[in-house]
């Protein structure tokens, strides 16, 4: 049986939540009552106290009690009821934009692409009958069967090579690594067999393959399961490397990756799988793709530019919200693609804000932030910098296990805030 969430059904037919609609009706009536002539019975009933002894137990909730809570929720005051049009506008509840988790976004993207093109298939450990180690491929095996969704034995080098060979013969495989830490066993196939082949053959042999899986730090999985590979894969020509943050990124980038005729590495994040985001109607369409190689300005600002990818984008937005209260407006850029890097977007932002901070979960040496620093220095934006570029990165150690140590091994919101204030000399 299909598991479809309520939010999805409501979002598809564009219906509001019942409680919200009832609240709107209450407040609408309340406003009407207030606007009537003085002495209207409805108004007298609002404040009336019933005579006689109160019954035992908790006092019954009266209309005013409920309406007070409603008004607080919506954010209106009694005085505002006088203006009918404005009152109506403020209490109106819109249907909520569909909330989709990153996991479901990836699942839907793969489902739609499997349906669209017969040559697409998924292989990896536990992707079929187990529904995916992190449930990203839930339901796909039931729908498409053994031919399109293939469970492999634990042989990364072997099955990555098999996926590349299938791509060379014209199929469009999605090769899942349970985490990118295990891709190190197969990295020869990714780089030497997939990435370099189109160039070595002078365009005779294409390799339309997608390598995807969770990348970077998780929670309590310790050193061998927490490495970020953005810098390693981002180093190699012939590869495209993307790193989605939210659900829309995940959907659009994975679809673009599958439709691309070249090897693409999709670095997901395990901690983001369960996080839900609003996705616009456009973002839910079957042909929604995000171009590889374009960054997105998630939040405009004037004082400092924060550039990040994957989970850290969320941290940057949270830091920006805190700093906004102090009057510092941060411009937050979501890289979306690691290779090719969208330097133009970063440069345009630096020209505006004059301060740049890069935020990443990976290690500092030879990392994504290091590359951004070098590119900014080599480009026109250098002359617009009022301070050196700052890199906020993971601590330069293998990931420890104990919670307090792990928490202090990757950038926290306070680190970003601290760096912003430092660079702005505050």
């Amino acid at each position: 049986m299909d598991k479809i969430r309520n939010e999805q059904i409501r979002g598809t037919v564009k219906v509001e939540q019942f409680g919200d609609k009832a609240r709107e009706a209450r407040l609408r009536w309340f406003g009407r009552v207030l606007r009537r002539n003085r002495g209207y019975i409805g108004q007298r009933m609002l404040e009336m106290e019933l005579p006689g002894r109160r019954r035992r137990g908790r006092p019954q909730r009266r209309f005013m009690d409920v309406v007070k809570v409603d008004m607080e929720m919506v954010g209106v005051k009694v005085e505002e009821a006088v203006d009918r049009a404005r009152w109506r506008q403020m209490i109106h509840c819109d249907f909520q934009l569909l909330q989709v988790t990153v996991r479901d976004a990836l699942n839907q993207a793969m489902d739609e692409e499997l349906e669209r093109d017969e040559r697409v298939f998924l292989l990896g450990e536990e992707v079929a009958q187990y529904d995916g180690a992190y449930k990203v491929s839930r339901g796909l095996w039931k729908k498409y069967g053994d031919k399109r969704i293939i469970d492999t034995p634990i042989s990364e080098m072997g099955f990555a090579g098999i996926a590349v060979g299938a791509a060379m013969a014209g199929l469009r495989p999605i090769c899942e690594f349970m985490t990118f830490n295990f891709s190190m066993q197969a990295i020869d196939q990714v780089i030497n067999s997939a990435a370099k082949t189109c160039y070595m053959s002078a365009g005779l042999q294409a390799v339309p393959i997608v390598f995807r899986g969770p990348n970077g730090a998780s929670a309590g999985v310790a050193a061998q399961h927490s490495q970020c590979f953005a810098a390693w894969y981002g180093h190699c020509p012939g590869l495209k490397v993307v790193s989605p943050w939210n659900s829309e990124d995940a959907r659009g980038l994975l679809k673009s990756a599958i439709r691309d005729d070249n090897p693409v590495v999709v670095l997901e994040n395990e901690l983001m799988y369960g996080v839900a985001f609003e996705v616009s109607e456009q973002g839910l369409s079957k042909d929604f793709t995000i171009p590889i190689g374009k960054a997105k300005v998630e939040r405009p600002g004037n004082h400092v530019t924060l550039v990040s990818h994957s989970r850290m984008v969320g941290h940057c937005l949270d830091a920006a919200a805190v700093l906004a209260k102090e009057g510092i407006e941060c411009e937050v850029i979501n890289l979306r693609t690691i290779r090719p890097l969208d330097v133009e977007t970063i440069e345009a932002s630096v020209v505006k804000t004059n301060h740049l901070i890069t935020v990443e979960g990976g290690w500092p040496q030879f990392g994504v932030g290091a590359e951004i620093c070098a590119r900014i220095m080599e480009g026109p934006a250098f002359n617009y910098l009022d301070a050196p570029v700052i890199r906020v990165t993971g601590v330069d150690i293998p990931m420890p296990y104990a919670k307090i140590l792990e928490d202090n091994s990757t950038p926290q919101i306070k680190d970003i805030i601290f760096s912003v204030k430092k660079t702005l000399n505050m």
Binding site: F121, K147, I150, T152, P153, S155, M157, G158, F159, A160, G161, I162, A163, V164, G165, A166, A167, M168, A169, G170, L171, D188, Q189, N192, S193, T197, C198, Y199, M200, S201, A202, G203, L204, Q205, A206, V207, P208, P237, G238, K240, D261, N262, P340, E378, G379
Partner: protein, 376 residues
């Protein structure tokens, strides 16, 4: 049977079509009840074709040797002379629509899979007329249904299993021939490929070209078990004399039929020998004796064996063979001439073909002001 053969022989003389039946030694089998047939039919046309192909390959490799010593070819150059029967026999046993992938000793297979000698030599000399426009070199030549030419030892075996998976997926009754050497046979990824190929019954013919030496290490010093045809364990295997083109052909046909019938992968070990060292930088005599090389050359050379067989069965005359040799020599000379005179690839092409089917993009050069153009 005798009468039939006499009648046929008489008819064939009239129609200038000579047949010969050829008995060869039985193949050693692993997990197989029956092996390939012990007799093969060779028509004159086939014989001449195999001879011509093998001789062309031989002369091509010797020309490459010459060019390398003149420093016109540089880098890696792994020569195939001595092993011609393998490439020609395999090609005769499969269809052009089947797939083939091998490692770096690939010039022979590049030729049998349809690339001209001219394009091969020009690729070795790094000129724009090369099959990969000079971008690939000795180890990275590609053609239709030929996937190289792979430099990383053993990496081509999972790729071959993947090609077989694609054949199975598309249901087109094609097979994939995946070649590797005795040195690569100890790579872990090969056993991973065996496991998955057997599990999913992929139509993959794994072929181990055992030329007795992995670079400078003999098979006894490298492998705990030198029965490479048995190393597939649960995969049936056969050991074949790789110096006899007909034996290789019949064994390949047998293997291809096995795979096409959906029984899964099969493993073939070809016993063969390379005259040159591992590559041009290896003289090839520090780990084996000159006597050994000489003995193989005189007793088991694939081209001589085929020539002798054809002449002794009156399928061709010595003059005919000599004529073919002269033609081939001329062809190789012309190709070498092209390969040495063709210009090198233009610098504008430096950054092309990084991606397939991609709009033009900019690539960083050696310094920040150098912005190079890349089209696909």
């Amino acid at each position: 049977y005798e009468n039939l053969m006499t009648v046929l022989k008489n008819i064939s003389i009239v129609f200038n079509l000579l047949l010969c039946t050829h008995p060869f030694k039985k193949c050693e089998l692993h997990r197989l009840d029956q092996g390939p047939p012990t007799q093969a039919l060779l028509t004159r046309e086939q014989g001449l074709k195999y001879y011509r192909t093998m001789q062309t390959m031989r002369r091509m490799e010797l020309k490459a040797d010459q060019l390398y010593k003149q420093k016109i070819i540089r880098g890696f150059c792994h020569l195939y002379d001595g092993q011609e029967a393998c490439a020609v026999g395999i090609e005769a046993g499969i269809n052009p629509s089947d797939h083939l992938i091998t490692a770096y000793r690939a010039h022979g297979y590049t030729y049998t899979r349809g690339v001209s000698v001219k394009e091969i030599l020009a690729e070795l000399t790094g000129r724009r007329g090369g099959v990969a426009k000079g971008k690939g070199g000795s180890m990275h030549m590609y053609a239709k249904h030929f996937y190289g030419g792979n430099g990383i030892v053993g990496a081509q075996v999972p790729l071959g299993a993947g090609l077989a998976l694609a054949c199975q997926y598309k249901g087109n009754n094609e097979v994939c021939v995946t070649l590797y050497g005795d040195g690569a046979a100890n790579q872990g990824q090969i056993f991973e490929s065996f496991n998955m190929a057997a599990l999913w019954k992929l139509p993959c013919i794994f072929i181990c070209e055992n030329n007795k030496y992995g670079m400078g290490t003999s098979v006894e010093r490298a492998s705990a078990s030198t029965d490479y045809f048995k190393r597939g364990d649960f995969i049936p295997g056969l050991k074949v004399d790789g110096m006899d083109v007909l034996t290789v052909r019949e064994a390949t046909k047998f293997a291809a039929d096995y795979c096409r019938s959906g029984k899964g992968p099969i493993l073939m070990e070809l016993e063969t020998y390379r005259y040159h060292g591992h590559s041009m930088s290896d003289p090839g005599v520090s780990y084996r004796t000159r006597e050994e090389i000489q003995e193989v050359r005189s007793k088991s050379d694939p081209i001589s064996m085929l020539k002798d067989r054809m002449i002794s069965n009156n399928m061709a005359s010595l003059e005919e063979i000599k004529e073919i040799d002269v033609e081939i020599r001329k062809e190789i000379e012309e190709a070498a001439q092209f390969a040495t005179s063709d210009p090198e690839p233009p610098l504008e092409e430096l950054c092309n073909h990084i991606f397939y089917n991609e709009p033009p993009m900019e690539v960083r050069g050696t310094n920040p002001w150098s912005k190079l153009k890349s089209i696909s």
